[in-house]
């Protein structure tokens, strides 16, 4: 008698559980599965965002404004076809300023992507720079002006769209000295086009420096097991190098 009662009770509870599971309560949607872009990546060195090898200031794929061309006058890049490393005006060499963004991508050292559900982090070896890209968030109402700008991102299918604003205008867009203003707006479309390749398509908008938006592309290869090292260069390091290799006397005391 007692065992029959227990069997009936278990059966009743099972039925209730089944009905509950099949009720009209909406199922919790599965989290969207985004491509995995995490890992250590390495791109070839690049000194210009132009796809041509034309002299800076004359590239047909860059829509300069008069302001930009004026700003480039007298600039002496440290790399590229018009380089004058010894007398360069490149702020990243002359003052050991941060490369800033998007120039940071051009340095041929590794960067690491750390991917979470709500934020993407990018960590660069060169001068231990980093940035964070909150996902599905708006920009600040009044973004600060900074070396690396303010970035937000969102997934569109297999592509991570990163929108960045708020850049300090003293940095160069690239190693050959393309200028930009604080109005610079960079859009990146980041795709893992195959297991070993990350492709980034850039769109540059800056109504002060360029008459309309223009584009560029850079690709990076996965470095399996890549170890992130510290590669920091200070003003003292730069001046010490110049003293030894270029016989330039340091204008200020330096660490030796």
């Amino acid at each position: 008698m007692r065992s029959r009662f227990l069997i009936a009770l278990v059966g009743l509870l099972g039925t209730v559980a089944f009905i509950s599971a099949c009720s009209s309560r909406p199922a919790v949607p599965a989290a969207p599965q985004h491509p995995d872009i995490s890992g250590v990546w390495l791109g070839g060195g690049k000194s210009s965002w132009s796809s041509t090898r034309a002299k800076p200031g004359t590239e047909p794929d860059i829509p300069y404004t008069a302001w930009a061309l004026e700003r480039m006058k007298g600039q002496r890049p440290g790399s590229g076809s018009e380089s004058d490393f010894e007398n360069t005006t490149d702020p990243a060499l002359k003052y050991a300023d941060p490369l800033g963004f998007p120039r940071q991508y051009q340095h041929p050292l590794k960067f690491k992507i750390v991917q979470t559900d709500d934020t993407i982090y990018q960590l660069w070896e060169w001068n231990k720079a980093w940035r964070q890209i909150p996902l599905n968030k708006p920009h600040s109402e009044d973004p600060d002006i900074s070396w690396y700008g303010e970035s937000v991102g969102k997934w569109e299918g297999n592509t991570l769209i990163v929108d960045s604003v708020g850049f300090k205008d003293s940095t160069w867009l690239d190693g050959v000295g393309h200028p930009h203003s604080e109005e610079l707006h960079v859009i990146e479309r980041i795709q893992r086009v195959d297991p070993a390749t990350l492709q980034i398509d850039f769109t540059f908008e800056d109504p002060v420096a360029y008459t309309h938006a223009w584009t560029s592309q850079h690709t990076f290869k996965l470095v399996p097991g890549g170890k992130m090292t510290e590669v920091v260069t200070t003003m003292s390091d730069e001046l010490h190098y110049r003293e030894r290799f270029l016989k330039q006397k340091p204008p200020v005391p330096i660490r030796r």
Binding site: G45, S79, Q106, T233, H240
Partner: protein, 132 residues
Amino acid sequence: MILRLFGMSGVFALAACGFLMPSPALAHHGRALIYDSKTETTVKGTVTEFVWSNPHVQIGIEGVDANGTRRQWLIEASSTGILADRGWSRRTLKAGDTVTITFHPGLKGSSTGDLIKAVLADGRELGAGVQR
């Protein structure tokens, strides 16, 4: 200390063979006005210093030039990060080691060079990396 002639004349080899760097991509600075990229010089000598630093690792070497004169060179390599990825470390060389260095010589007659490769005393060959 044994200093040996290498290449054409025995101690010092100067080869203007149009050998190009694997990539023109440069991180810190261009080389065009500083080094003769069409010339390779190979010196076997003694390390006088090995500076594991940025923006460029520096190698001091004492050897004998094509004229039979003992002299010193200061060679620049890539940054520490790039060299580390190619098998170098801060302990790869030390003063007193014997090494064979191949480099693009400095222009303007300076005793500087842009590292192409180094062959260590144990026979290991380490490249400079294709990008600086």
